[in-house]
Subunit: 281 residues, 2 copies
């Protein structure tokens, strides 16, 4: 099978590496707006060839994977769908789903589209960030699959299986709510924490001398690219605002307990939060 | 050299393992309020013997390391100092320093005390959590060393050197401010994030199905023990409230930008937070 990957960065590149290795595809055409990304991806042997036109690439491909930030995705998706024939399977890997699925709803080729979101990534971006086995044992969410043609869905499910991923089906509304809670808010807190400490560093130069594993752990996501994350916050604004509100409330509650020196209630809150142990390994 | 370690948990236990391995000491007496910890530490060969009285242990030890939560430390430190002779070196490993150093200020044996804080740990506790090499290549902060006797300081510096730790000198006021920013706030955000998501799980059972590395990274510190952390927040209350205030402000600013759909400023904020790359490896 020949696949086209639009966007040869962290996710697209890592998918390309795994799909080739696991024998899902035998030829990968890369498409990327950034010429340097395309060159780099070829140098790194992530893709077999690079072309500039998605339309040309589609003519020779069965599977088309759109691995670009969600705002760019919303822009190109209509024309990709217009060009899709019954031989094509179009799959995205976007981190938000409602807007994307609204956009393709009712499109005559809607059945050729499979909405996917691999729950894996790192704080790095670009083809150099692409790594082998990024997706192994991770979760792939497929959204609103009832609107995809059975054979198109099978192509994606087969890929997920060969990549040794865990499959989860969900509707787009649930997906966007859940990712706000277990992914998007983590990035916001990291960005905010980095800003808080960087601000303080201006007066207190030596502040990072003491930084250790705990700090790094909570702040590493703050290295993430705004090109990817601003569109996510934009297209999941409603849910992100909800969780952000709740998170600020939790912090304000803790602040108030400290102000009132109510350490007993603070202790109980921490005990409650310790229940996260049952979730994390 | 014979050492007594009071508190045979994560930090005390890991220190015991490393000090023995690196030849800093050849016999370790463990003291722990919890009989089961003492037994476990002996089973795991972290300590050579366990005794219940600090006074007895001190009579046979040169180095006494106090590795217990800061509130318990403040309680026992006066009597430990009273029992100290010129042959003793008393060292703590507490995460806050101002209150501890205020307590010993002016004590006739003040010179025998060295205030230390190893910037290393994990979210786990107890003797089972003790690990080899926890401190290798990590930072050891020594506070207000001008008030320690030269020979006592040398014993600790020699240990730090043999443990292959990086040495940083700081006064207690700076220490408590800096740790609020690069350690204590990370724990508060993790506790709050865990609570936010655990609350949501009650309505949305499947929410953790999508959790991946990013979520785990920002929330893992929420597994930390309230026995250790409530006393830290209590004894560094002033600084923790300051940084918590600033962090809440940063989050509120982001919330407002999202509400106003000012994605351009949001983008710039993320770019600014990306400067954390220069700090983290």
């Amino acid at each position: 099978m020949v696949a086209t990957i639009v966007g040869t960065g962290l996710i697209g590149g890592s998918l390309a590496i795994s799909m080739k290795e696991k024998g899902v595809v035998n030829w990968i055409i890369g498409v990327d707006q950034r010429e340097e990304n395309l060159q780099k991806a070829q140098e790194l042997k992530i893709i077999d060839e690079g072309v500039s036109s998605i339309k040309d690439a589609m003519q020779r491909s069965k599977l088309i994977i759109l691995a670009i930030p969600v705002d760019a995705l919303l822009q190109i998706l209509p024309s990709v769908m217009d060009n899709a024939g019954p031989e094509h399977v179009i799959m995205d890997v976007g981190s938000t789903k409602e807007k994307i699925l609204q956009l393709v709803a009712g499109h005559p080729n809607r059945g050729r589209f499979v909405a996917a979101h691999p729950m894996a990534g790192t704080e790095y971006s670009g083809p150099e960030a692409a790594i082998k086995n990024l997706f192994t044992q991770k979760t792939m969410v497929l959204c609103d699959v009832k609107n995809s043609d059975e054979d198109a869905l099978e192509v994606v499910e087969n890929m997920v299986d060969k990549l040794q991923m865990r499959l989860v089906y969900m509707n787009a509304v649930e997906h966007d709510l859940h990712t706000a809670y277990i992914s998007h808010i983590s990035h916001i807190t990291s960005f905010a924490l980095a800003l808080t400490v960087l601000e303080k560093e201006k007066e207190q130069g030596r502040i990072f001398e003491l930084a250790s594993g705990g700090f790094e752990s909570t702040v590493r996501l703050a290295k993430s690219s705004p090109d990817m994350w601003v569109p996510i916050f934009k297209h999941n604004r409603h849910n992100v605002l909800d969780v952000l509100d709740e998170h600020i409330n939790q912090l304000q509650q803790m602040k108030q307990l400290l102000e009132n020196e109510d350490y007993e209630t603070f202790y109980k809150l921490i005990q409650k939060s310790n229940k996260i142990r049952k979730i994390l390994k």
